[in-house]
Symmetry: C2
Subunit: 209 residues, 2 copies
Amino acid sequence: MTVPAAIDFYFDFSSPYGYLMSEKIDDLAARHGRAVRWRPVLLGPIFKVTGGVPLTQAPVKGDYAKRDFMRSARFLDVPFALPPNFPVSTQHAARAYYWLQDHDDALARAFAHAVYRAYFVEGRDISAQAEVIRLAAKVGAGDMKSPAGVTPIAEALGGAELKERLRAEVDAAMAQGVCGSPYVIIDGEPFLGVDRLPQIERWLANEGF
Amino acid sequence: MTVPAAIDFYFDFSSPYGYLMSEKIDDLAARHGRAVRWRPVLLGPIFKVTGGVPLTQAPVKGDYAKRDFMRSARFLDVPFALPPNFPVSTQHAARAYYWLQDHDDALARAFAHAVYRAYFVEGRDISAQAEVIRLAAKVGAGDMKSPAGVTPIAEALGGAELKERLRAEVDAAMAQGVCGSPYVIIDGEPFLGVDRLPQIERWLANEGF
């Protein structure tokens, strides 16, 4: 029996719908025997190519979006409060994620949940490097060193290597067609938005439709 | 017992997701004892305010959108083919709709279905005034005259009155926050996109959530 391929889940840590997806995708995938690869990206460089704008900054549509964030969270039964600063830059969080993932996938997953919940439940400033380091420590990465055993996360976050790593991840995502957050790819089939959960569910159940 | 208020359904005749909604909203509303007011608008003037762009014209996202149109149609079990010319101007169709609605709401509804299906099933050019007149005749409006009994639809379509009527309808829609298609308002609560059908269903069942 072949193991079905993992699902790719692309998201920006500042994306409300990405956060809602983060609370659902693992359980949904597990029910269909699938693993999920989490892949934080940055919507900034993606929107430069697609012409997208942050949802709440669009005239008229911005007001709708705020209302829809909250209603969609209630619909999906996920705690949510629009953070006082929204959206924010998430490069520190995304870089920390990849650094952690190179060490321990489960730890990176726990970190990603912690970042999203710190932002969309507690309203904390996840754009701050200090907050990112605090959250990494909270999930157990406080004493962790780089694979070579010398660099702790606080030091790695300022380094060129991790910056380049994230840039490459965003480029790779864009090469896959990623044009928003959340963006889920199942066996080559792309799904944009947490509102595609019912389609994702049917796709996984039937292996396409 | 009070009769629940009608639902407002705003759409552009060139909107794929609007078409998909048009095939679902009446039955869904009827199951919850609601009538639906259909209100064609023009995305052109709306996008001038919101900064929106036709989905298929956005870099990268355009390719995704085309795939999503087709998959969403399969998901909702609605026949769909992307028309050879997409998107197109729909002012003639929208004007004809309001002219017909002033005479007979059921006839206007039948005309709207005919326009959407001519475009998204048969690939006909619904931007052409002749096609709009043909579709009006097809649903039974061929001999129909204006309320004053003098103007047939072909003549009305060229007149200033009907142009002004559509302009006023679009303005009124924008004053209600309409920022895309389909846009459904239930007792003041707005829902953008056919992907909000599950939320609309729960909203109608529970009178909010």
